[in-house]
């Protein structure tokens, strides 16, 4: 578990979260500025689509805005909870339910063209490779998949994932270990690094 919140010297997420819960839109905006990039990248890794990642990012922060009053953050950081929300939204979207699309449709539109990153060189290969990973992860049992999404895909610590999932760190490590065995048997590369 991290010893310090991520933004040392600045107001931490919990303080911003509490201010936002009291109606401070700028505090929520600061949370968005702080985490939207990580959430956007995580959403892409869970969906393989930058367009979907934009929608998921918006949906995650809308969810946060609506639920902001009843939550205590893990390690005073909003990121683990946002990643968990992204995971739930992505799974729901993969099942074709797409509930967040309706909420997004109510947002005002602007003239900016989306999908800014889709023209980057190597996109097709990267997307193909990511699809293979996502297909393999999607085939894992739910408990293992959640742990993999948070720790291996989202790069959260096992302590943060354990707190979000409501299980012990030992359980998270166990789930990841089992998932690695399954993933090795499919399309993924061998383990090369250690858990932090």
């Amino acid at each position: 578990m991290r010893a310090e919140p991520e933004n040392v010297g600045e107001e931490d997420d919990q303080a911003l979260w509490e201010r936002a819960a009291g109606g401070d839109v700028d505090a929520f905006g600061e949370l968005f500025r702080r985490h939207s990039g990580a959430v956007w990248n995580h959403a892409y890794r869970l969906t393989g689509s930058w367009s979907a990642a934009e929608d998921l990012t918006s949906a995650a922060f809308l969810t946060a805005c609506r639920r902001i009053g009843g939550l205590t953050l893990v390690n005073r950081s909003a990121r683990p909870w946002l990643f968990a929300v992204i995971g739930n939204l992505a799974r729901r979207e993969r099942r074709g339910r797409g509930r967040f699309a309706a909420a997004l449709a109510r947002l005002p539109q602007s003239g900016i063209v989306r999908d800014h990153a889709d023209d980057v060189a190597g996109k097709i290969d990267a997307d193909h490779r990511l699809r293979e990973v996502l297909d393999a992860v999607a085939g894992l049992p739910r408990a293992e998949r959640e742990a993999v999404e948070l720790c291996l895909v989202g790069n959260l610590s096992t302590a943060e994932a354990a707190a979000v999932l409501g299980v012990t760190e030992a359980s998270v490590r166990s789930r990841i270990s089992r998932a690695r065995c399954r993933l090795r048997a499919t399309t993924l590369t061998a383990m090369t690094t250690e858990e932090r």
């Binding site: 936002a20 009291g22 109606g23 839109v25 929520f28 905006g29 968005f32 500025r33 939207s36 990039g37 990580a38 956007w40 990248n41 892409y44 890794r45 934009e54 990012t57 918006s58 809308l62 969810t63 805005c65 639920r67 009053g69 009843g70 939550l71 205590t72 929300v85 739930n88 939204l89 729901r92 509930r99 947002l107 005002p108 602007s110 900016i112 989306r114 800014h116 990153a117 980057v120 990267a126 990511l130 990973v133 739910r142 408990a143 291996l152 895909v153 790069n155 979000v164 409501g166 299980v167 012990t168 030992a170 993924l188 590369t189 383990m191 090369t192 690094t193 250690e194 858990e195 932090r196």
Partner: protein, 261 residues
């Protein structure tokens, strides 16, 4: 933990994209947060009123559209609030809990964290409605939400739901937590007419379970995770034997883990 699977590196989010998304979100965020501020003075009163209704009523009969109606016994007001908070926390995590207002507290059990068994939450609270039961993680007056929340199971479409109970088998496994010290808490459901539940050992000894409103929990040292291959007693042959007593005195015994097929 660094990733060990072949994932693309993080891209810096373009500033114009970040601004674009925030400009789209801001009006709805402002409306929602402003609305929260206006409602905040009212919500605690309505929550307290809801709790008071359940307590003063003592026994309420609630029903859902196509599910049998059941008599709900009175519960500790703190547990009523916990059940409500558990559902709220689960919804807040992005899981759609069906009929969020229908869940009432079942049995609550101490996880015995002081024994060093590795349990992360000191208590479990079962919650239920007419169709299904679920398990909440609890620490005092706080809750971590429903563990392993599965929408199909919460809608009563899972393997272990009230609709699957019969006169011959008026109980069923729901969930289990097996701890590092070899102990386990087994959670289950029963029909409304069950008045006592216990686990029966081969030597005849009996471990009574806690029972409340069709939910039960029992601590044992021979865990099982019903239907999950690779865990102890995944097969019905080796499953713990449960004995239930009905209100008319009839006793029914059978494996906690429901035989498949």
């Amino acid at each position: 933990m660094d990733t060990d699977i072949d994932l693309p590196a993080d891209r810096p989010m373009p500033v114009e994209l970040q601004e674009h998304l925030w400009n789209r979100l801001r009006p709805q965020v402002a409306a929602t947060l402003t609305g929260r501020r206006r409602r905040s003075a009212v919500l605690p009163l309505s929550a307290a009123a809801a709790v008071g209704l359940l307590v003063v009523g003592g026994v309420l009969v609630l029903g859902q559209d196509d599910a049998p109606r059941r008599t709900i016994p009175a519960s500790d007001p703190a547990d009523v609030q916990l059940a409500h908070d558990c559902v709220t926390a689960t919804v807040a995590s992005g899981v759609e809990v069906p009929d969020p207002g229908s869940w009432t507290p079942g049995v609550k059990i101490d996880a015995d964290t002081g024994s060093g068994n590795g349990a992360a939450w000191p208590e479990f609270l079962m919650i239920r409605n007419d169709r299904a039961a679920a398990l909440c993680l609890v620490a005092g007056s706080s809750t971590g939400g429903i563990t392993g929340a599965d929408v199909a199971a919460m809608e009563g479409r899972g393997r272990h739901s009230y609709a699957t109970l019969t006169a011959a088998r008026p109980f069923d496994y729901l969930d289990a937590w097996n701890f590092l010290d070899g102990t386990s808490i087994q959670f289950g459901i029963t029909t409304e007419d069950v008045v006592a539940v216990s686990v029966v050992w081969q030597d005849g000894n009996v471990t009574p379970a806690l029972l409340h409103d069709g939910t039960f929990a029992v601590k044992i040292d021979r865990g099982e995770m019903c239907g999950r291959p690779g865990h102890i007693s995944a097969t019905p042959v080796a499953s713990n034997v449960v004995r239930v007593t009905l209100g008319d005195g009839q006793v029914v015994e059978g494996p906690l883990c429901k035989p498949t097929g």
